[in-house]
Structure formats: structure tokens, C-alpha cells
């Protein structure tokens, strides 16, 4: 490998800190995929996979993806909760790969709540 200059050092820092941003706990947006047995049976794994594909495409460092247990509304699974700092959490219901993509692009990145898929505001 060629010798580094200070500019290279800065580039490495940028690149590596993207991967490491998870380790600083604070994030502005929290996307929770409810992955209880009911959620997984209804397709939460697929939802998570499409969410992670979307995550891979964005440069945002302040989004945290969390898996959590069943929230009690098994009939409306797969459920996804979006919490943006300073706003009320929104729960979405019957999410699939496509809906997840739309929610991520429109709500998480642009802040427009997708009322068509929403179950409740908490």
C-alpha cells in the first residue's frame, strides 16, 4: 500500500467511521422491526432484509435499526415503528418489502408520514 498523506488519513476516517457509527449509541432515528414469532411468521425477516438494503444505500449515520419482540398486535404484523427525535413514534402495520422501502425513503429520510400504512400514532 502506498504511503498515506494527511488527506488519505481523513478519507480513511470518513469511511471507517461510517461502519463504526453504530457504536456511538445516540442516533436520531430509530427503526424498530417487531420480530416476535408472529412477526417472523408474517414476514418480518423479509422486511428487515429490505430495510437493511435501504440502509446500505444511504449515507446517513444517525439511523439505528433495532429488532424487538412482539408488541401485542399479532394480527397486524409485520409491524414497524419509526421514532424520529422530537416527533411522536409511528407504528406501521402489514408491512412488506415494498412498503418498507417506501416508508424508509419517504418517512425516515424525508419525514413524510405514510398514513396509508400507519396503524397508530403513539
Amino acid at each position: 500500500m502506498a504511503k498515506l498523506t494527511i488527506q488519505d488519513l481523513k478519507k480513511i476516517k470518513e469511511g471507517a467511521s461510517k461502519e463504526m457509527s453504530l457504536r456511538d449509541e445516540a442516533g436520531k432515528v430509530k427503526v424498530t422491526v417487531h420480530m416476535g414469532t408472529c412477526g417472523i411468521a408474517a414476514g418480518a425477516r423479509d422486511v428487515m432484509a429490505s430495510l437493511m438494503e435501504e440502509m446500505g444505500e444511504t449515507d446517513r449515520k444517525d439511523i439505528r435499526v433495532v429488532a424487538s419482540g412482539c408488541m401485542g398486535m399479532c394480527s397486524s404484523e409485520p409491524n414497524v415503528t419509526i421514532e424520529i427525535e422530537g416527533e411522536k413514534p409511528i407504528i406501521y402495520q402489514h408491512i412488506d418489502r415494498n412498503k418498507m422501502r417506501q416508508v424508509f425513503k419517504r418517512h425516515v429520510l424525508m419525514g413524510e408520514v405514510q398514513t396509508d400504512f400507519a396503524l397508530a400514532k403513539m
Binding site: L9, I40, M52, A67, S68
Partner: protein, 595 residues
């Protein structure tokens, strides 16, 4: 770019390695693969997390959940429950020792909550074997600043402003040491790192090297620039295999990136580092002996002056700094000396890393701001003394230090204050002792260590420590005479006056500090032939107190020589003919009925 959603920061320090990190890692990776989570969950092996008592430990990010005492056979359950279904597993949460309350979040655990991390800021956050992780946390930006924007004089000035003092024990101001060496004439100079950590109960340097080896490398580059040296050595003991392995990886990676070698970062400055493995002699932690050892000679101290800053390794101007000191340097350069000096007391600035061990709940590694009281360290961070026993003393500074009893527990962590109460700051070993520790026996242990490690060059240390040990052994054996106390005092004073190096000069400290605070225990051994802590086997009668005996038979079941006579519902009796004084019955009796 692919992203993962969860990172498992698995502790890979020596402590957790020995309690099972490799097996846990294997089980984790296998199960993650099996559950099809490989693209979502990533295992990162970090350096020492510090909470060695409950290892193997793991921090789950971004949840911030802390798991302790992981067992490979429970991993499949953990992976399915938490990483797939998102339900944290309570079984592996930290439990408060007394209330048994579980605490899931790492930063809510008292052990972590009271700490202030500077040297250990990367612990558990980076993979020590990946240089990019270190760079992402501002790594090598201190070196870049020092090489590009600062003159050597400015570097020395910044370190002087920070008022950092040597973390190896003696506490000499680092900036002044560097100034001497930078002003020493000569075109060949050396930067050395002292990683020959030898105090019983000390593991700070090892953990820093394992968790953040690049910080030490970067500190050495800056030091080299400050005194214009082009060659450095890290003197580490062979018994630190993991630290040496990670250092070697760090040096190789830094070379590949051109952060070591010729023309560093295109600034025209050259610097190389070599690791020198020491065989593990205590005396080689003394600076002049360490230099002799690197030269390939027998590790023995020589009189000073000339000081190493003028004539050190191969008679060239040399600076020698401790691992912790060097690991502080990059941040001092990056954030400024006054930032560093903003924490601490009048004469002691910054933070100090301690290795807490002995009779305490939370054995491990911690970093606290200077000025915090020993009581906070022991009770709030350390969690107090197990089994509802009483605190007796805390030993600071290893064989060169002393012990501090209960009445001085409010002493702040400060070089001068700790010296006032008869101990030294030392390199950071902190051994807590409960009421069952015999202080004469403790002094005997340290003296045994010192006389064993004495290099033998000067008579006071070679002969004097041996005599001290013999007197202490005599007292522990119940053969002590009244004149022994006077001999201990006198001999200690002579050694303190006349020994050649720092180790010899401080060698009598364990005796002096126990004599100062626990003279009554010495007197009980000598005059009453009694060991108040019931530790010295020769002074125990091995009889059963009928009033305390609960007739449980624990002594009977455990006696290896069948010397205990006991039947159900009867008080035990010990047959002195058969008894070999092995202390087993004494340790097994929960009611203290054997005396």
C-alpha cells in the same frame, strides 16, 4: 455499501480470553450463520472492556446492552432471542451484588458510570487489530498535527502545559523529561516505552496495549518528533503474548500506511519501532536496568546521574515513558495541554488507570479523574467487599508502595496526598484486603517477592531484603521476639538510605507502612503468639470453640487426614496427632469456630 444493524462488541482482553471468549465467539458466529443473520449482525472482538470479574463480557450496539458471564452453550438461545427476535436475555444481565437487581444498560452499571475515559476511550469501541478503526476515532491525527504543524519545542511546551506526570509510578513530569532529552546534544537519540509491568496485581499496561496498541505507537511517534529521535523500542515482557501480538500487528499496519518508517505522512520525518521482549525480571522495569537489557546485557541498574536524558541506551540521549503516559500523548497534542490539565487536582492532572483486585466485587480495570477519593473507587466503582466482611486496607503501588487503612480512605487520588499517608500512586495496582488478611503475612508476601526479584548488585537490597524476610517469617511462625520490631525499623531505614536504584530504595515500604498502621498486629504475633486475622497457621491452635460450633460437620467432611472427630449432632474435635495444619477445616467452617 452493506451495513449491519447490530454489532456485538465481544471483549478480547486476556481476562475474558481465559474465561472463554474464543469459544463464545465461535458459538456466536456459528449461530448467527445458522439463523441467517450474517449480513445483519457482526461480531467485533475488542480490547479489554475492564470488567474482568464477570467475563466473558459483550456489549450489544446500538442497544447499549451489556452481557456478562457468557457461556457457549447458551449462545443459540441468546442469538435467537435477542438478535433475531429482539428480546434481551435477562439471564446474562449484570446483577448488583447485594440487591441482586439486574441492570441491562452498560452505562447504568455503577462500575462504568463513575469512570472518566481518556486513555481507555477506545476500549470496547474499536477492534485493536484494525488500524482503520483507530483512525476513525481520530487516531494518528495527533501525530499528523505534531509532524506537520508543530515544532519540537511546541510539542514539548504542550506536554509541559498538560502537566502530565509519569504514570509508571514515580510521577516525574513528562514534559520536563522530554525537554532535557531534546536539549541534549547528539544526532542519535532513542524513545523507549516501558511495558515491563511487574507489580503483583497490576495489569493496566497490558490492557492498554491489548485494547489500543496504536495509541502507544502514536505517542511514541510524537515523542520521537519532540526530541528528534528516529528509533524506538517497546520493552514488553514475554508473558504478555496477546499484547505483543497486537503490538506487532499495529506496527506492521502503521508501516504499511507509512505512519512508521521513512518520510512519515510526507513530512520527511523518519521513525521506526522495534519490540524488545524481556524475560520478565522485575528489576528491568527500572529505567537503567531496562536499557542494559535492551543492549543485550544483564538487566542491572546503574547509579544516576548521568540521567538517561543525557546518557541512556547505548550512551545516547534517551527518554523512557510508561505505556499509559504515551497513550495519553496523542490526545494532549490533539486537544491541547490545557484541555488535559482541566481535570484533576493542583499537582496531579488528568486521569489515572487502576487495576482493582483482591477482596472486592468488581475486579477489573478502571479509569478515574485525579482527585476522586479512594472510597469512591473501592465502594462505588468496586462495589465494596464481598461476603459482608469489613474493609481492612488497600495496597497501592505494588512492592514499592504501601497500604492505606480505613481511616485514610477519603484520601484523594493525587501523587502527593497518597505519599502523605504512606503509600505511592505507583503504576496503578490496587489490591483490596478484608478483615481476614494478616498484615504481617502481607508484608512477608511482598518481601518474599522483592528479595526474589532483587538483582543483587547492591548489598543493602540483596542482603537487607533477605534479612527483612527472615524476620517476618520468624514472626509469622510464632518465634518473634520483642527486638524484632526494632530490627525491622532500623534495617528498613538503612535500606531506604543506601540502596542503588528505585526498587531497592522503596523495598522496605510494605514493612514500614504495615508497621505504621498495624503495629498492634505485629505485637499480637510477638507478645501474645496470636494472629488476629487467623491467617498464620503456626499461630493457630486448631481447636473447636464449642459455643460457636453448629455441629454441621463441614470440617469433618473436608479434612484430608481424617483428623476431625465428629458425629451427627455432636461438636467436632480435632485430633492434633493427625492434624497437618493445612487450614482446610478453618476455611470450610462458616462460623469461625476453629481457632
Amino acid at each position: 455499501m452493506k451495513k449491519v444493524r447490530t454489532q456485538l462488541m465481544l471483549c478480547g482482553g486476556t481476562g475474558c480470553h481465559s474465561t472463554g471468549t474464543p469459544a463464545v465467539r465461535e458459538a456466536l458466529e456459528k449461530e448467527i450463520e445458522q439463523q441467517g443473520l450474517s449480513e445483519e449482525v457482526q461480531v467485533v472482538e475488542t480490547g479489554c472492556n475492564g470488567f474482568c470479574a464477570v467475563g466473558p463480557v459483550m456489549l450489544v450496539q446500538p442497544d447499549g446492552i451489556f452481557y456478562q458471564k457468557l457461556d457457549p452453550k447458551d449462545i443459540p438461545y441468546l442469538v435467537e432471542e435477542h438478535f433475531l427476535k429482539g428480546r434481551p436475555v435477562k439471564k446474562f444481565f449484570y446483577k448488583e451484588p447485594d440487591s441482586k437487581e439486574t441492570i441491562p444498560g452498560m452505562n447504568d452499571i455503577p462500575f462504568f458510570a463513575h469512570q472518566q475515559l481518556r486513555v481507555m476511550r477506545n476500549k470496547g469501541l474499536i477492534d485493536p487489530e484494525v488500524i482503520d478503526d483507530y483512525i476513525a476515532r481520530d487516531g494518528y491525527f495527533g501525530a499528523a498535527k505534531a509532524l506537520q504543524e508543530m515544532t519540537p519545542e511546541q510539542i514539548v511546551e504542550e506536554v509541559k502545559t498538560s502537566q502530565i506526570r509519569g504514570r509508571g509510578g514515580a510521577g516525574f513530569p513528562t514534559g520536563i523529561k522530554w525537554e532535557f532529552a531534546s536539549k541534549s546534544p547528539g544526532d542519535v537519540k532513542y524513545v523507549l516505552c516501558n511495558a515491563d509491568e511487574g507489580d503483583p496485581g497490576a495489569f493496566m499496561d497490558r490492557s492498554i496495549l491489548e485494547a489500543d496498541p496504536h495509541a502507544v505507537v502514536e505517542g511514541m511517534i510524537i515523542a520521537a518528533r519532540a526530541i528528534n529521535a528516529h528509533k524506538g523500542y517497546i520493552y514488553a515482557r514475554t508473558e504478555y503474548p496477546l499484547a505483543i501480538r497486537r503490538l506487532n500487528i499495529a506496527i506492521t499496519q502503521a508501516k504499511e500506511y507509512g505512519l512508521l518508517g521513512k518520510d512519515i505522512l510526507g513530512t520527511g520525518f523518519d521513525f521506526e519501532i522495534e519490540i524488545y521482549e524481556g524475560a520478565g525480571a522485575f528489576v528491568c522495569g527500572e529505567e537503567t536496568a531496562l536499557m542494559r537489557s535492551i543492549e543485550g546485557k544483564r538487566g542491572m541498574p546503574r547509579p544516576r546521574p548521568p540521567f538517561p536524558a543525557h546518557k541512556g541506551l547505548w550512551e545516547k540521549p534517551t527518554i523512557l515513558n510508561n505505556v499509559e503516559t504515551l497513550a495519553n500523548i496523542p490526545q494532549i497534542i490533539l486537544n491541547g495541554g490545557s484541555w488535559y490539565a482541566s481535570v484533576g487536582t493542583e499537582t496531579s492532572k488528568g486521569t489515572k488507570v487502576f487495576a482493582l483486585s483482591g477482596d472486592i466485587y468488581n475486579i477489573g480495570l478502571l479509569e478515574v479523574p485525579m482527585g476522586i477519593s479512594l472510597r469512591t473507587v473501592i465502594y462505588d466503582i468496586g462495589g465494596g467487599i464481598p461476603k459482608k466482611k469489613k474493609f481492612k486496607a488497600v495496597q497501592l503501588g505494588g512492592p514499592s508502595g504501601g497500604c492505606i487503612p480505613e481511616q485514610h480512605l477519603d484520601t484523594p487520588v493525587d501523587y502527593e496526598e497518597i505519599t502523605k499517608v504512606g503509600a505511592i500512586m505507583g503504576s496503578g495496582g490496587m489490591i483490596v484486603m478484608d478483615e481476614n488478611t494478616c498484615m504481617v503475612d502481607m508484608a512477608r508476601f511482598f518481601m518474599d517477592f522483592i528479595q526474589d526479584e532483587s538483582c543483587g548488585k547492591c548489598t543493602p537490597c540483596r542482603e537487607g531484603t533477605r534479612r527483612l524476610l527472615q524476620i517476618l517469617e520468624k514472626i509469622c511462625d510464632g518465634k518473634g521476639e520483642p527486638s524484632d520490631l526494632e530490627s525491622l525499623d532500623k534495617l528498613s531505614a538503612i535500606i531506604k538510605d543506601s540502596a542503588l536504584c528505585g526498587l531497592g530504595l522503596t523495598a522496605p515500604n510494605p514493612v514500614l507502612s504495615t508497621l505504621r498502621y498495624f503495629r498492634d498486629e505485629y505485637e499480637a504475633h510477638i507478645y501474645e503468639k496470636r494472629c488476629p486475622a487467623k491467617r498464620c497457621a503456626a499461630l493457630l491452635k486448631f481447636e473447636v470453640d464449642p459455643e460457636l460450633c453448629t455441629k454441621c460437620g463441614a470440617c469433618f467432611r473436608h479434612c484430608p487426614t481424617e483428623a476431625v472427630i465428629w458425629k451427627k449432632k455432636e461438636i467436632a474435635v480435632i485430633d492434633k496427632e493427625k492434624c497437618i495444619k493445612c487450614m482446610t477445616c478453618f476455611e470450610k467452617c462458616k462460623f469461625g469456630s476453629i481457632f
